[in-house]
Symmetry: C2
Subunit: 234 residues, 2 copies
DNA sequence: CCTCCATAGTGAGGATTGTCACATTTTGCT
DNA sequence: AGCAAAATGTGACAATCCTCACTATGGAGG
């Protein structure tokens, strides 16, 4: 839908080229873990193909999915220019894919030597930050139903494909997966999705794909104030 | 308690000095609005004295408090190096105070001309981002009680003062204020605080000040995994 | 000192969401 | 195609949290 630019689309080709020279290409199979919460943050990962899920878990096993990144996105930037930096989330492949691993130290040197590259990087960090703030509000302030609706709206923008029947969310999601985006139970998600299906707002396609048939309905019920499209993303 | 460094403490004196030359000092009285959600993001504000509350509201009036910033903190960085950038939250003074307004364009030029300053800035942005991610998980995954406990723990680190009787949270908060940090109702906060007081975990002092007498209790009940102190902040 | 007003405190009842249990359907694999 | 595993769908009940209504308390100001 209003898909925003990926990381590689937002930075200059020059910078990208330099990044590639630092990178080593690595192949991962579905389920493989790029890093775990608490691991030293030595590498960043630029996704060439496949999808990467970023999660935070509590000690008692509850999981929160922060993001699912696709090709062209950068994953694993815990921070920059800090000593003894560790990851504060875990990242795993959702499907077989190829990523370029970039050592953080290399990126830092690149940024220090080429001040002009910092511009792109800081712009990108700012966007990510605003996205999270806006997600924050939506997930906390509109109750769980609002949280789900908001998530569906964002998914339209991030993973959506315009189709004659509606907006197809190009992400294979079980009810449980969706629940983890919001902090809901699988059963609650199931009931809410069933209701939406009954009301013809969405359609549930095989393989866990969702088709949004009535996006305005979702936006109206949560009083979506049409925030800028690069912000209203997963 | 484990208070982390403020923005001005994290950046080099050189950078700070240059920032000051760009800034114009402005006095605000309690309640004054620095900017509103949707306003063009032309200025950043470096707090000299007083406290600034950063909020996001929904169209139907519900409010979420993102942060309360004190002296030495930087407020209003919506993003950098973007055109037609607008604020995505509102900022208002909680008490009379002095801030230095820095034009965003000036900061951007400063960063472009002095690449070495970007390092400090990006480090700071990374820390802010990790903080929000961790808050995100705590507020969504542990239920509302866990959200409150987590908020109290973070407040100990950010606004806390060690005292013989416990940790004094140096922030004047009504029940409603506290509720807005979490997405709760005033009544629920009231009941939860009353319970904690009955259990001798906290003490409620006049003027909306809270004294934490049993921090380990709060940490244990939400299975706090002792994340790095610069992250476990408001 | 008294009044007013904002805040705190509390009960009752309803709405929402979670938990558990189980039947049904879909999916992945050989 | 057939089987096992995973995911979905659903009901009953419990727990949580919100809403509304009201009283009590504590400062600020006349």
């Amino acid at each position: 839908m209003t898909r925003s630019l990926t990381f590689v689309q937002q930075i200059s080709p020059d910078f990208l080229e330099k990044l590639y020279t630092l990178a080593t290409e690595r192949h991962f199979s579905a389920g493989a873990v790029l890093y775990m919460d608490g691991d030293p943050a030595e590498c960043l990962y630029l996704i060439s193909s496949g999808q990467v899920k970023l999660t935070k878990t509590t000690v008692d096993g509850k999981e929160l999915t922060l993001q699912v990144f696709g090709a062209g996105e950068l994953v694993g930037l815990a921070g920059l220019f800090e000593v003894e930096l560790v990851h504060t989330a875990s990242a795993a492949m959702l499907e077989n894919g190829v990523v370029r691993a970039i050592p953080r130290s290399g990126l830092e040197q690149l940024l220090m030597k080429n001040g002009e590259f910092c511009v792109d990087f800081m712009r990108w960090m700012g966007i990510m930050n605003r996205r999270m703030q806006s997600k924050f509000r939506d997930l906390l302030l509109n109750g769980k139903v609002g949280a789900l609706y908001s998530t569906l709206i964002r998914m339209c923008n991030t993973y959506g494909e315009e189709r004659p029947e509606g907006i197809y969310i190009n992400l294979s999601l079980t009810n449980r997966d969706l629940a983890h985006f919001i902090g809901l139970t699988r059963e609650s998600v199931n009931r809410m999705l069933s209701d939406l299906k009954k009301q013809q707002v969405i359609d549930l396609l095989p393989q866990g794909h969702i088709l949004i048939k009535n996006l305005p309905y979702l936006k109206e019920t949560i009083c979506c104030d049409d925030c800028p499209p690069e912000i209203c993303q997963m």
